[in-house]
């Protein structure tokens, strides 16, 4: 009984160990991705800046053993194992992330990611860059199909994707919907793919607050082949959910400013001060009377 328990524990521990060390497989369609630009001293310099700001805290300085002590351990960019990755694999891993490695899709632009790759490649003497073709999806655009000045009624947002040059619908484009919030864009629905007529429909959340009149700034992003995104629609829609206009400081409270003190408190303070000092001044008046009475004699 006991030994089987230990065995299970060991096996499960082994399991987590194996899981942590599972090779990071990059889908074939992303593996072969190439940088659309030629790596140069400039890209390397820009890449180093991004690397030092974003990557150094875990991966350390390339070639130095100052990586963060994490499990699994972040790899040294100068190591052989690390440099085995293809450019496309790098790009995929940086954009998507896994476990402790964060996804940088939302934090870095695709140029930045390529710059970082160009920088870490300086630690591989054998590396020779292959330049890829420029993105072909740049001509695609989209428009909202909802009526009534984009007033969200049935919580649906319908989008049509067209080729800008010939206004023809584009089929099979992956789109995501976002709403603007203070510090970033909030994803609203899952990724949708345009149908035969270039259309697709997003579900819009019923309860998302807009601004004080209910307006929400939304955008629709199209997924590029490299996993990054490009905005094709950026507009304001009207919703019926206005954000709270409740002002915390309107209520009288112990913690509020002096003028917003509870009335009973103000009255008791002023009342007791007036009463006490009123009596004190009355006493002084009596004393003056005593003085006067003595002076007359």
């Amino acid at each position: 009984m006991k030994s089987s328990f230990i065995l299970i524990v060991i096996l499960s521990l082994l399991g987590t160990y194996v899981k942590a060390q599972t090779p990071w497989v990059v889908p074939d369609d992303r593996k072969g991705l190439l940088a659309p630009l030629k790596f140069s001293d400039e890209t390397r310099k820009l890449g180093q800046e991004v690397f030092n700001k974003t990557c150094v805290s875990c991966h350390g300085h390339p070639g130095q053993p100052d990586q963060a002590k994490l499990v699994p351990a972040p790899k040294d960019p100068a190591s052989k194992e690390y440099q085995q990755n293809l450019d496309g694999e790098f790009f995929y891993k940086i954009t998507e992330g896994r476990g402790l490695m964060p996804s940088f899709k939302k934090m870095l632009k695709s140029e930045d990611i390529w710059n970082v790759i160009s920088y870490v490649r300086t630690f591989n003497k054998e590396y020779v860059q292959k330049v890829g073709a420029a993105d072909s999806s740049s001509g695609i655009t989209g428009k909202l199909l909802s009526k009534l000045d984009y007033l969200i009624k049935d919580n649906k947002i319908e989008v049509k994707v067209i080729q800008q040059s010939n206004k023809m619908p584009v089929i099979g484009v992956k789109l995501s919907l976002y709403a603007k919030r203070n510090f970033g864009w909030l994803p609203l629905d899952e990724m949708r793919i345009s149908n035969a007529s270039g259309k697709l429909t997003f579900n819009y959340p019923k309860d998302l607050p807009g601004d004080k009149v209910g307006d929400v700034n939304i955008k629709v992003n199209m997924a590029n082949a490299d996993g990054t995104e490009r905005t094709i629609i950026d507009t304001i829609i009207k919703t019926e959910i206005k954000c709270s206009q409740y002002n915390l400081l309107d209520n009288r409270a112990m913690w509020n400013v002096r003028s917003k003190a509870p009335i009973w408190l103000m009255l008791s303070y002023c009342g007791s001060v007036l009463a006490a000092w009123g009596v004190i001044f009355y006493i002084i008046w009596i004393l003056l009377q005593i003085r006067n009475k003595g002076a007359k004699v």
Partner: protein
């Protein structure tokens, strides 16, 4: 889009109005150049002309010009107002904290604090003997029923419409009642001259940054009100390397992670992770939410457990 622009414009206009002197040209050299050409008659290469808000052209010696940030009074008037329509909240994911202390460094740097002075401090916690230890970043909780503000005798520390609890060190008398009242030990005092006191002695006091710090006054976490004014994430939030902090506007029901810049629904995040607030039972209504340290991502350094002085 237009809607978004307008408040910004308004703010800017208001700002200029309050400043009262140097106009739009102060920021855009183009305007200055334009007027420079218009008034070519007065020949003087060293002079710079700027347009004031009341449409007067004023002339300065070039060398005297420096960026005008505002006076102490302007900062205080603006800082006590708060940003309309906002209700700032913070979410701290304890599962992700590995005590990197980058938040602390960025904060101390921004607020001119000494190494032992904390607006945010990462504590090593263990709730009971056999429960797991974890790291807990602890900024001011910016309570909606703040005991520290209640006890302040002079309105030096105050609650703002958008949530943060700020401190006016031009008003503070140094009685330290707020320090005694705070159950989260979030406040500190300038027992000596603050760090680099002489260097910043003549700077105007920015109430939203609480800088320059002043001897004999209380200092505290401000939710980086100066950054919020610029629509940027607080210092601690944006400097965390591990995605611990989320920050955002409760009115919009969204918070943004300072590391990944990922924006999520606040209500969903709190619900899905069984979020809690510190010492809820005291009823101070904190604005900082904690996600429990479940499935911690980082191993806990065991040797440090021993010197745990948790009480």
């Amino acid at each position: 889009m237009e809607d978004n622009k307008e408040p910004k414009e308004n703010k800017r206009r208001e700002f200029l109005k309050t400043l009262g002197i140097i106009g739009a040209a102060g920021a855009s050299g183009a305007m200055a150049l334009y007027f420079g050409q218009q008034y070519e008659k007065i020949k003087s290469g060293k002079k710079v002309r700027l347009l004031t808000v009341d449409n007067k052209v004023v002339e300065f010696e070039n060398g005297e010009l420096k960026e005008f940030k505002g006076t102490t009074e302007d900062f205080i008037a603006r800082g006590r107002e708060g940003i309309p329509g906002k209700s700032w909240v913070m979410v701290i994911d304890l599962a992700k904290c590995r005590n990197a202390r980058k938040c602390i460094g960025a904060c101390q740097n921004a607020h001119h604090l000494r190494p032992e002075q904390y607006h945010v401090n990462t504590l090593q916690m263990q709730d009971s003997e056999i429960t797991s230890p974890y790291f807990m970043p602890k900024p001011c909780q910016h309570c909606d029923n703040p005991p520290c503000v209640s006890v302040c005798p002079v309105d030096a520390t105050f609650k703002r419409t958008d949530g943060p609890v700020l401190i006016d060190n031009e008003r503070c008398i140094g009685c330290r009642f707020c320090i005694a009242a705070c159950p989260y030990s979030a406040r500190i005092f300038n027992w000596f001259d603050p760090k680099d006191a002489e260097k910043f002695a003549n700077d105007p006091y920015d109430i939203e940054l609480n800088v320059p710090q002043k001897r004999g006054t209380v200092s505290k976490c401000l939710f980086s009100a100066d950054r919020l004014r610029k629509n940027e994430l607080p210092y601690c939030v944006s400097n965390c390397p591990n995605g611990v902090y989320y920050f955002g506007d409760k009115n919009e029901d969204a918070v943004t992670n300072g590391t990944t810049k990922e924006t999520v629904r606040l209500s969903t995040l709190l619900k899905d992770n069984a979020a809690y607030r510190l010492m809820e039972e005291l009823g101070q209504e904190p604005r900082v939410y904690y996600l429990p340290p479940k499935n911690r991502l980082f191993p806990f350094p065991e040797e440090e457990n021993k010197k745990d002085n948790h009480v």
